[in-house]
């Protein structure tokens, strides 16, 4: 009988954990979500007096919202693309080849993450000012590119390293050239993990604000930057709320995409190294 009692014992720790999670994550989400669909919500009502899509209409009819959406998408795509072109061959080299100063170079990719980011950004902004890259699309691309190096080097390096060398040798043995081995064996084996890294870098870039704001302002305004300025400057809360709900969309699609393309175990491997 004692086992039965054990099984029914209430897991207080688990409940407390769930409650805290709800308060910290779910509750703010609900509040923001509610704001986005509230036409009228005045103190002290607990739920809005009037629900509706009025502010969606007004928000989406604003020119600056649409420019920011296109801007965010083209920035993220460009940064991710460049990051792939630069980092994947580098990751392969780091994983498979030995060359002078390999370790030094490898850790230099990390160095950017080792210092307080904002200080670094201010320093770079100083340099960019001289190069006329402030308020420039490519200036923001460059700064955001630096932010993706960590994911796009470390995770693919781990992915390439974990590919069984014997598999590659077996492919050479049956007649595949080194390039064919890379294409048919190494890449498919490392693929899911690399896809995870690409996804991370796309989503990470989409939500990046510090660099976008410091280097991009005032000409370049991404969605998160616009949202912050709405929240800071607009008396109407709904603008910011609608925009933040819109901002959930990419991460939502990212997760869907991740679940389809990447099976969960190899996805986890990507983060575990």
């Amino acid at each position: 009988m004692s086992t039965l009692v054990d099984k029914r014992r209430i897991d207080w720790a688990g409940i407390a954990f769930a409650v805290v999670l709800t308060l910290v994550i779910i509750f703010p989400l609900i509040v923001v979500g509610t704001w986005a669909f509230a036409n009228v919500w005045r103190y002290p009502a607990i739920i809005p007096q009037e629900f509706g899509l009025r502010y969606w209409g007004t928000t989406l009819s604003r020119q600056d919202v649409w420019t920011s959406i296109t801007m965010s998408l083209s920035l993220s795509l460009m940064v991710t693309l460049l990051s792939c072109i630069i980092c994947l061959p580098a990751a392969y080299a780091f994983a498979r080849m030995s060359f002078p100063a390999r370790n030094l170079l490898f850790f230099s990719f990390l160095a950017g993450q080792a210092f307080p980011k904002f200080g670094l950004l201010v320093a770079i902004a100083g340099i960019f000012l001289h190069l006329n890259l402030i308020g420039n699309f490519w200036g923001v691309v460059m700064i955001q590119l630096v932010g993706t190096l960590l994911y796009m080097i470390w995770i693919p390096v781990a992915a390439f390293q974990s590919v069984d060398r014997r598999m590659e040798e077996a492919a050479r043995d049956v007649g595949a050239s080194p390039f064919r081995v890379f294409w048919s064996i190494t890449l498919p084996q490392a693929g899911p993990t690399i896809a995870a890294a690409v996804l991370l870098s796309f989503v990470g870039t989409f939500y990046e604000t510090e660099g976008a704001w410091l280097i991009g302002a005032p000409a370049i305004r991404t969605m998160p930057v616009l949202m912050i300025s709405f929240i800071n400057n607009q008396p109407v809360i709904q603008y910011g709320a609608v925009l933040s709900v819109l901002l959930w969309i990419p991460s939502f699609f990212a997760i869907l995409f991740a679940r389809r393309v990447v099976n969960s175990s190899s996805f986890a491997r990507g983060f575990g190294g």
């Binding site: 014997r166 598999m167 492919a171 043995d173 007649g175 595949a176």
Partner: protein
């Protein structure tokens, strides 16, 4: 028709400090299966990988049917390698694993299909083409790996401890299958193992390797009966190897003495347990008697701690603590790493 000639091949690693393979020469005849046998680190895999093209020899040459392939990359060699860890491509199913090499050779799809099905039949896995590699047992995976090499009809088949990760029972079954297939296809084969029974069961000839050098090459029965060095003697089967001194035709180690007709000096006496008789006496003490039913193994300790193993027909005749004399019926003597005497009927 394929002959493999390995001539004076040397491989060093780490700026010459590690001599993995040291001036090694061997010719494997057409359709012959040669086992490379030796302790861990003796250079077996390195030698095999040089034949497969995965390592470049530091010196010497490798020829297949007279063609020098010493510097050719793996994809340009008529060799097929089976790895210990099977190394199947986990993102492809069994059919694709087997078809990959054929596709690279631009064979028409029907031909590929026909060949893959034939080879699956040969390794006893008909209809397994659509399986994913992780849906196979360890033994089946190893068979697919073998099929992947065989389907390309290589001139030389190379196997590096292909059964090491399998259990004893499966290992015995697979080695018989591989031997059957090899003999049916008459394919020249180099097989690495560090299990002596595997080598004895499969090989036409066995090469015993030690520190990158060939210690001896011989047919299995010869190797067991006429080991050329104490190392080979100790490595194949169980062998009592007693170091001692010969003077005036008598070998002595502590109280153990026996006539050995060789010149004076240090010598190693080699006696198989089955050739070592026991009699009540005083040379050593019985440490333990192990009864296997069909026979017994008696451990006899000399006063200096050296232990002989003797095989007796009836274990119950002997008791631990008993004092006995050792009476070798057949033996060999070694000096300076070579045989100096072999008694008649040395087994």
């Amino acid at each position: 028709m394929a002959v493999l000639e390995i001539q004076n091949v040397t491989k060093t690693f780490g700026s010459g400090s590690v001599r993995a393979v040291d001036d090694f020469s061997l010719t494997v005849g057409d359709g012959e299966l040669v086992c490379l046998l030796g302790p861990s680190g003796s250079g077996k895999s390195t030698l095999l990988r040089m034949v497969g093209g995965f390592e470049t020899p530091t010196g010497g040459s490798i020829r297949i049917d007279g063609d020098d392939v010493t510097k050719a990359p793996p994809e340009k060699r008529p060799t097929g390698m089976v790895f210990q860890s099977h190394a199947l491509w986990t993102h492809m199913n069994v059919f694709k694993n087997l078809a990959f090499g054929l596709k690279l050779r631009r064979l028409p799809p029907e031909e590929i299909k026909r060949r893959v099905e034939a080879i699956l039949e040969l390794v006893g896995l008909p209809g397994y083409g659509t399986r994913l590699t992780h849906q196979l047992s360890g033994g089946q995976q190893q068979r697919v790996a073998l099929a992947r090499s065989l389907v390309l009809e290589p001139k030389i088949l190379l196997l590096d401890e292909p059964f090491a990760s399998l259990d004893q029972h499966l290992r015995e079954r697979l080695r018989e299958e591989v031997r059957d297939i090899q003999q049916r296809l008459k394919i020249t084969t180099l097989f690495v193992t560090h299990g002596q029974d595997e080598a004895l069961a499969m090989a036409d000839r066995i090469v015993v390797m030690r520190d990158g050098k060939m210690e001896q090459v011989a047919a299995p029965d010869t190797l067991y009966r006429e080991p050329q060095t104490p190392f080979v003697a100790g490595f194949i089967g169980t062998m009592n190897l007693a170091e001692g001194v010969v003077s005036d035709g008598t070998f002595t180690r502590g109280p153990f003495t026996m006539p050995v007709p060789v010149g004076d000096g240090a010598a190693i006496l080699a006696v198989r347990p089955e050739a070592l008789g026991l009699a009540p006496g005083g040379m050593g003490d019985i440490h333990r008697v192990t009864d296997f039913g069909t026979h017994g193994i008696v451990d006899v300790d000399l006063p200096d701690g050296f232990r002989f193993k003797a095989m007796v027909p009836e274990a119950r005749e002997w008791k631990a603590g008993q004092k006995v004399d050792l009476k070798p019926r057949a033996f060999s003597a070694y000096r300076d790493n070579a045989v100096i005497y072999r008694s008649q009927a040395a087994s």
